[in-house]
């Protein structure tokens, strides 16, 4: 819990840092001057360019001691990802990412994917779809290739599940596409209708975020439900803006 508190404190403090983000972190200040290690799954430059880059420093996922710049002491607790003691060992990745991404972890632990991962060590973890450090996120087109590693007739996972998931991902991505136009319309509407619509637009926004979190449960019905809540919010806003009662 101390480690979790530390992570949270660092996250909260990060945006207020002055100068290059993460520059005062000894992992960062040392590794940015080093050549890329050949064994590592990702590079320092990838970290810099990733969603975590500059804000969430190496030690948060790899462990180590940031109170010292001494090489051996600084690497205390850092292990190769193939070592079960590593915080980025396959089965430990969800807990490591989940230290910050708690809601996503909550949904993921309800999934059959998570059950497979913990019971058989054959199952997707966070990096399967997001890459190390969330360098990327699986696109709809990349989904079939990734999922078919297990979702194939030999492995026994339903081979056609990725087809449905892929389409649902397209639905999810499309769900809030009417948001900008709805907001632009609100600007051109009188204050009373604007206020009425704002509530539903807010609901749509929240539903959109919730849908992205709920995705991690890999429960198609739940995903569809949360994606359609976005559309419902926007349809209601649309009705209010048109002077009808929300439906």
């Amino acid at each position: 819990m101390t480690a979790h508190s530390l992570v949270l404190v660092v996250l909260l403090a990060a945006p207020q840092d002055v100068g290059p983000p993460g520059a005062r972190n000894p992992c960062v200040s040392c590794h940015q001057g080093l050549p890329e290690p050949e064994a590592a799954a990702h590079s320092f430059a990838e970290w810099r360019a990733s969603a975590h880059g500059g804000v969430v420093t190496c030690d948060q996922c790899h462990d180590g001691d940031t109170t010292t710049a001494e090489q051996p002491a600084a690497h205390r607790g850092v292990y190769p990802s193939q070592d079960y003691r590593s915080k980025v060992y396959g089965t430990r990745i969800p807990a490591t990412c989940g230290a910050c991404h708690q809601q996503e972890l909550g949904f993921f632990t309800e999934s059959r994917h998570y059950a497979q991962l913990t019971a058989t060590r054959r199952g997707p973890s966070c990096v399967t779809c997001h890459g190390s450090m969330a360098i990327r996120v699986l696109t709809a087109d990349g989904l079939a290739a990734t999922c078919s590693g297990c979702h194939n007739p030999e492995q026994g996972a339903p081979p056609d599940a990725p087809v449905a998931a892929r389409r649902l991902l397209v639905v999810l991505q499309q769900a809030d596409s009417a948001l900008p136009a709805t907001e632009a319309r609100m600007q051109a509407t009188d204050a009373r209708r604007r206020a009425g619509a704002a509530r539903f637009v807010r609901q749509a926004r929240e539903a959109s975020q919730e849908a992205r979190r709920a995705w991690h449960a890999f429960d198609l019905a739940l995903m569809e439900q949360s994606a359609s809540q976005v559309t419902t919010g926007l349809r209601r806003a649309d009705s209010v803006l048109a002077g009808r009662s929300p439906r």
Binding site: D160, A181, L234, D238
Partner: protein, 249 residues
């Protein structure tokens, strides 16, 4: 084209010009609207009246045959058969051709589908009314889809069981994209020229693409439909960005 087919097409072309969506008096209609609903019929007269066909004035004879110009009931019903008879225009394997005499693009796509192939080769396959009901009373909603499709798409029959789920999500997507275009059009209506005119080009394209997606759905080549829908969605987004620029001006 058969003379009957030609009559149907001509009638279809004429329909939109009928005053207030009603066709000229038709003997089938004027007689049947006074009769009690038949218990044997697959649908009632009221169903027809409320359906898109009732509103557009596509009268009974267009789908059931018969002669509305005849002098008496017997002559008027010549060529009208029970839908269980293979002679009937609404016998299930003949339904696609009957609907398709007006809805040609849909028939064209459908006749290239595996569904159609199943229907004509084995007699087991969906036809127009499976999704649309008699006279297009309804259109299958995403929630209904699995129930309907699972009659064949189930493990016993060996058909891919996720196909209806994927189709269901595609229908959700179709509605989303259509809604997105609606919203963009409403925004356009509130935006001054020239942005409105520039956006209209994208919106017209989006609508046309949407129409292609709707027609293409009947091929059940859903990957193509999805790509077409996303293209329509892109048109709406382009319109949105033109309109966003216009609002700033």
């Amino acid at each position: 084209m058969t003379p009957a087919g030609a009559v149907l097409v001509v009638t279809a072309l004429l329909m939109p010009q009928a005053p207030s969506g009603r066709a000229a008096p038709n003997a089938c209609v004027t007689c049947h609207e006074r009769l009690p609903a038949t218990t044997a019929g697959g649908h009632s007269f009221q169903d027809w009246r409320a359906s898109p066909h009732g509103r557009a004035g596509a009268t009974c004879d267009k789908c059931h045959g018969g002669n509305p110009a005849a002098a008496n009931a017997e002559a008027a019903h010549q060529g009208v058969y029970s839908s269980r008879e293979s002679r009937s225009l609404v016998y299930y394997t003949r339904i696609p051709a009957t609907c398709g005499s007006c809805h040609q693009p849909e028939l064209e796509f459908f006749s290239h589908s595996r569904h159609y192939n199943q229907l004509v080769t084995t007699g087991r396959g969906p036809n127009c009314v499976t999704c649309h009901g008699s006279m297009a009373i309804q259109v299958l909603s995403p929630g209904d889809m699995e129930n309907t499709c699972s009659a064949c798409h189930n493990a016993e029959r060996g058909l891919p069981s996720t196909a209806p789920v994927a189709a269901r999500y595609l229908l959700v997507l179709l509605r989303q994209v259509e809604f997105g275009i609606d919203v963009s059009e409403r925004l356009a209506a509130r935006t001054p020229e020239p942005a409105r005119r520039d956006a209209a080009v994208h919106l017209r394209q989006a609508r046309e693409t949407m129409q292609r997606a709707r027609e293409g759905w009947h091929s059940f080549a859903l990957g193509i439909v999805e790509a077409t829908l996303l293209q329509a969605a892109q048109g709406a987004r382009r319109a949105d960005s033109v309109l966003a620029g216009g609002a700033r001006r």
